[in-house]
Amino acid sequence: MTYIIECSNLTKKFKGKTALNSIDLKIPRGRIVGLLGPNGSGKTTFIKICNSLLTPTKGEIFIDGKEPGKETKAIVSYLPEGNYLNDWMNVRAIIGLFNDFYKDFDSKKAYQLLKDLNINPNDKFKNMSKGTKEKVQLILVMSRDAQLYLLDEPIGGVDPAARDYILDTILKNYNEKATIILSTHLISDIERILDDIIFLKNGEIIMSNTVDDIREKQGKSVDSLFREVFKC
């Protein structure tokens, strides 16, 4: 099976408002894909459907050839937007939890990454800064040996130096047969690690191409193109 995600005519409506409108998409394995679009363009909705947190109103989606559900969750590592961990737990306990939940979780890797970032595993989640929380969550997600990583705004709340570390962590820790999809609007920071980009606007794909093809044909960065396409 070549494609990790395949969807056709994928549509999601919320009380009359169309969040995703008839999306056709095939995403191969071994790619790092940027899901880019302004606020409210449907990025998070798409990611949530891939995780079976939302069900499509119309159309089909297959992850590794299967409908999103219990089976696909075993191969998908998902970083939601914002905090989703229990505040009262310390990092060690959370790592234990992940280890129980996911067969492909590598505690050793998680502890190594924590050490690299000088995060004490005995610290409680609620006592951490916003940036540190984001780092811990990313460490947990990247310590799984998944086939698909879905990262919703992984670099939104951290400073530029930590951003570089996070991107390094992503590059270092994914296996080359896996695909990473990350949504963001901080394009210039992540452009050089992406293979492909997908531009979403009002729930529709308005462009999907490789980063180097865009630079070659348009003579400008994806960031400048984005600013042009989505000019307010």
Binding site: G30, R31, I32, D164, L167, D168, L171, K172, E176, S188, E191, R192, I193, L194, D195, V211, D212, D213, R215, E216, G219, K220, S221, D223, S224
Partner: protein, 123 residues
């Protein structure tokens, strides 16, 4: 040497140029075993597929070659490296001459400036 990538040109083309430069300047000497794609990609903070593309293109030119089991190496062909160096020098000089002519200098004046800047000695 760090990797300096501008934002308006294809990344793989820029990686290719910079590896070429590293080979010409001896940072990667003849016969040198290149780091793995993954390590190079990480060093340059770029996507491994993009780095792979640049390395493959350099294999096509002969500056790099692959050994099935032991990895990727810089060519031992001194002439090829010399020719590449000359080609890069010509490219830079052409760009320089273009800028100078935009500033309104003719060839004689440019030569004069060059001689003055290099201490008045043409040897």
């Amino acid at each position: 040497m760090s990797w300096d990538l501008s934002s308006d040109r294809p990344i793989y083309a820029q990686l290719l140029e910079q590896i070429e430069l590293k080979i010409c300047s001896g940072i990667y000497p003849p016969g040198f075993k290149m780091p793995s794609v993954r390590d190079l990609a990480q060093e340059a903070s770029v996507n491994p597929n993009t780095m792979q593309r640049a390395l493959s293109a350099l294999e096509d030119t002969g500056l790099l070659y692959s050994h099935r089991t032991s990895g990727r190496f810089v060519t031992d062909d001194a002439d090829l490296i010399k020719n590449t160096r000359t080609r890069l020098a010509q490219k830079h000089i052409k760009e320089f001459l273009k800028k100078m002519s935009e500033l309104g200098f003719n060839k004689g004046e440019i030569l004069e400036i060059l001689i003055n800047l290099s201490g008045g000695n043409t040897k």
